[in-house]
Amino acid sequence: MQDTAIYDQLTDIFRDVFMRDDMTLKPELTARDVPGWDSFKQIEIIIAIEEKYGIKFHTRELDNLHNVGDLARTVRAKTAG
């Protein structure tokens, strides 16, 4: 899948989770940059992505997510092929 498609779809999910229509995702965006992005919101985001793509993140994968770029890369890798 194209990166732009993944970013568009992730943006959609983030907008639902944070109820903000103006939110745009960039690779370097982290939880510290977004008010309200706590560990519970993180779980919401992950479950929403898992349901959207029909994938399941492994514990190590989740531990290695540091910004939106990591998230998009992991989604791309898990949906490839």
Binding site: R15, D16, M19, F40, E44, I47, A48
Partner: protein
Amino acid sequence: MTNLAWLPTIADWRSSLGAISVEQAAWFDKVTSLANHNLDFIRINALDSLLKAGRDASQPKLKEIRLAVLGSSTLAHLFPAIRIAALRREFLVSIYEADYGQYWQELSDTSSGLYRFNPSHVLFAFDSPHLAAGVNATMTQQEADAALEDVQNRIRECWRLARAAFRCPVMHQTPLPVTTTVLGNNEHRLPGSKAGFIARLTHALRPMADEAGVDLLALDERAARDGLAAWHDPGLWHRAKQEVSPAAAPVYGDLVARIIAAKQGKSYKCLVLDLDNTLWGGVIGDDGLEGIVLGQGSALGEAFVAFQEYCRELSRRGIILAVCSKNDEANALEPFEKHPEMVLKRGDIACFVANWCDKATNIRAIAQELNIGLDSLVFVDDNPFERSLVRQELPMVAVPEVGDDPVSYAQTLADAGYFEGLAVTQEDRERGGQYQGNRLREALRSSATDLPSYLRGLEMQLVWRRFDQVGLSRTVQLINKTNQFNLTTRRYTEDDVLGVMRDNRAFGLQLRLLDRFGDNGIISIVIGRMGEADDLLIDTWLMSCRVLGRQVEPTTLNLVAKQARQLGARRLVGEYVPTKKNAMVRDHYAKLGFAVEHEAADGASRAVLDLAGFHAAETFIDVREG
């Protein structure tokens, strides 16, 4: 299934949500309307944020439940779904969560936050790892038995403490079977197996809960049906100590809300059924008796039979059945009278409406004829147009998304939990027959030339009893669900009713009405209590609307006067407390000869009857104790 599949989906979620401003007066109706859609947990969380902002700005005028959730792991992620589910049942919830794992301390300490919160409902939600913490595979049978006993006693003690402290209903979540087996198929042969321990505890909880009057939140059954993976994610347990996955929160919240609603008598009472392609395949008016698909011989025909059987089972436990069909009446009745495979018979249907009016109008007529609120009706129709019309015209009627395959109708109704029941009373079982009796009474009424001869012809008997254990659940049910003929609409728990039974300066009466067409069941409840200066205060007087116009009220007054005199009363004092639904009894006491002493601006009034000058009214009802 862990989504709210029986609710309609919403196409334009974000713009619908964005269109709500909590500064507008209509914000709450809009939030409630969105809550009645199939929302996932993310949308529910968003809606809950809006609800919170709205309640901070202007508190809606709805009954508020104070729910304490006491558990041993993370539960806060389930609360938005509970609050939003409550909107579907027309109440508000404020939730208190004990500090992480501190439920025992909070229950034991009267200065704790829990006591300050003073809950009106308590839910215990213990995770399986916590419950099975004291068990391991080295244990002998004796040790494992002792461990089980110990956990059972701890749970009982929690229930006891909660009830003693807050005198409120208690709910208990059955454990999710998340612990893995170590022996295998015959896990039960390992005494100290955690999985076996949870299975035994789950089994034991049902009689324990019944004995203690606690209502269960049966997550074990949900997990069995949906698959454990739909409810529990081991990754999230390790990451966040969430035993119930947030993805299952929408259903969890609805399960909690429907139990609370049922406890207040707010379950749905009547199932209104379409006919063509709902109870049988095809269109009776076009296809004729031989052409409709029903019964053995085809999968479709059997699926319709199975759905009819489910409806009949609902009817047998007390749900009223009605028919609302666009048909000529004669055509609509034909299968009920002549089709050999019909499970439902005409006599199972309390109200049968088949004509060419729109369904919203007909559903209103059904509610009126059965004398029940529109908000107690569930309407099942395979036709999306009719569903959407009824939803729009009558938003208080529940209209499940049953789809167009009859194999799923029954499960959809069960999943939706409209008819959640906490006890089955004898009245519930007899209700079907009662509605049949009503039709015979109607026939007598039309043949009788005047009202007195009709009433005399009914050969009525009013059989009264003081409150007792046998009738307790019916008494509580009536107190909590009667809205129209209810002078004060005071809601009481079992504990409250037991309190009346123990009070020798008070009486609680349960009244049963019999006539030549059958037993109408317990139809009225009166609670009287001695007040100051030889006054007997009528705390509660309620009656089932289906016996209106039959002289039950004056006959009941005769009885109340007699009971009051036995307690030494000189006067009866009655109150009328107006609500949205009880305008029909505004003049109840005046009609019975009480003098209205005081009427407040809101319509509330107080009326007095001097017993010295009171003579029992003559009626056509025989009264006896029994």
